[in-house]
Symmetry: C2
Subunit: 233 residues, 2 copies
C-alpha cells in the first residue's frame, strides 16, 4: 500500500456574506431612499446610476455623484444626504424581506460546522434590523461600516470578517450581489461568488470575477456541492 | 469618369423608441408598484425578479409569476393585480423624470428630418403622462398596448410603429432598455440598440442582440454617427 502524500491540509473554507441584495431583499429600498435624498438637493441622478452604486462606500458614492452630475457638495450637504438616506431607508424597512433560502442557507452551514460571517458596507444602525429578518441572534458574526477604515470595494470588511473567524482570506468564499463585493473579494484574496438577487446581470458578475453565479441564497444552497461543500441539503 | 453603380437606394432609417427606461426614468416606479400589488395577494416575489419582467406583456408577466411562485391566480386576481399596479404607478408618477437627453434627442431627430415613433408595452392610461414629461404634443406617433394584439417580446408593437411611419421594419432602429425590446426588434426584423438606463447590464443587452449599447438618450445623441446618422449634434 502506498503511503499518503505529505502536505499541510488547508482549513475548511468559510463563507463571508454581503447583506443587502445577498441575504435580504433591500437593494431597491436603498435605491429609492437615495433618489429621494438626492432630490432634496435638486439632484436628478437617473435611478439606474444610483442602483449601480449600492453596496459601495458612501464616500465613493458621493465622489462618483460629483463627477457624474457636476454638482459641488459641502460637507453639510454630504452629511444631510447620508442622514436622509438612512431615514428614508429605515422608513421603508417594513417592506424588506429575507431573500429566499437565506435563513435556511445560514442554518445549514451552521448545522454542518461550516463557519460564516456577514460583512456589509452599511452602518450598524441601518443593517441591524436584518438580523431579526433572518432569525439570527444579536451576537451573529457581523462586520459593519462602523468597524473598518474603508468600505467596499476596499477589502477591509472582508479582511476583518476573515480575521473574526481566524481564517486566512484565501480560504474564504465571498458571496455578494454587486461588482463592488467581487472587487473587494479579489483584493482580499478570497474567492468571489455572485448572486443575481441584487439586480446585476450574470455576465457582469462573471466579468467582475465571480467563480459561480447563483440566482439567490436558495439556489446556492441547492448547488453548494459546486463549491466543495458536501451534503448541505 | 465612371458611371454611378445602379441599385435601388434604401430609405433613410427611422427610430422606434421604447418608453419606460428608454425615454423616461420610470422603471423603478413600475417595479415598486408591482411589488406592492403582489404583496396584496401575499405574493413575496424578490424585487429583482420583478425588475427583469418590466417591459414585457402583462400576460407573460403573470405566466412567469405563476411558474416562479407556484401560486394560482384567478381572472379576478389578475385583473386586481393589473389595476393595483396601474394605480400604484400613477400615484408615483410625480417622481418620474425624462431621461437625460431624451427630449433633445427626439428634437434633434425631428430637426434633421429623421422620423421616429414610440412603441410601448404600457397602456395609454399609464404612458400618456410621458408626452408632457418629454414636451411632446398629444399627436406624437405612439403605439401603445391598447392598439396591438400582443405586447413585447412579440414584434407587434414595432411592426405597428413601422407601419405608422410607412417604413419596412428592416429600415428601423429599435431603441430599448430591456432584453424584451431587443427580442421584439429581432422578430420584427429591425436593428436593436440598447440603453443602460433601465438597469440592465451592457453584456446582457449585447447578448440579446443589441448592435450598440449607450448609457442613455444623451449618450446616443452624442454618438449617433455610429448609427450612420450624420450631423445630429
Amino acid at each position: 500500500m502506498t503511503a499518503p502524500a505529505s502536505y499541510s491540509e488547508p482549513p475548511a473554507p468559510v463563507f463571508l456574506f454581503d447583506l443587502d441584495g445577498t441575504l435580504i431583499d433591500s437593494v431597491y429600498q436603498h435605491v429609492i431612499a437615495w433618489h429621494a435624498a438626492l432630490s432634496r438637493l435638486d439632484i436628478d441622478l437617473s435611478v439606474w446610476r444610483i442602483h449601480r452604486r449600492i453596496g459601495m462606500s458612501g464616500g465613493l458614492f458621493v465622489s462618483a455623484l460629483i463627477r457624474e452630475t457636476g454638482v459641488t457638495l459641502s460637507e453639510a450637504d454630504v452629511a444631510m444626504l447620508q442622514q436622509a438616506h438612512a431615514q428614508g431607508y429605515l422608513a421603508q424597512a417594513g417592506s424588506v424581506r429575507a431573500l429566499p433560502g437565506a435563513a435556511q442557507l445560514l442554518a445549514a452551514l451552521t448545522g454542518h460546522g461550516v463557519r460564516w460571517a456577514i460583512a456589509t458596507s452599511s452602518y450598524r444602525a441601518t443593517s441591524g434590523h436584518a438580523l431579526s429578518l433572518l432569525g439570527l441572534p444579536e451576537d451573529t458574526p457581523m462586520i459593519t461600516r462602523d468597524l473598518v477604515r474603508h468600505a467596499k470595494p476596499d477589502p477591509d470588511l472582508f479582511l476583518a470578517a476573515a480575521a473574526l473567524l481566524e481564517v486566512d482570506p484565501r480560504h474564504a468564499y465571498v458571496v455578494g450581489d454587486s461588482v463592488w463585493d467581487l472587487l473587494a473579494a479579489r483584493r482580499a484574496g478570497a474567492i468571489g461568488i455572485g448572486l443575481l438577487s441584487g439586480g446585476y446581470g450574470r455576465e457582469e458578475l462573471e466579468r467582475a470575477g465571480a467563480y459561480r453565479v447563483y440566482a439567490d441564497p436558495a439556489d446556492l444552497l441547492t448547488r453548494a456541492d459546486e463549491l466543495g461543500v458536501r451534503d448541505l441539503t
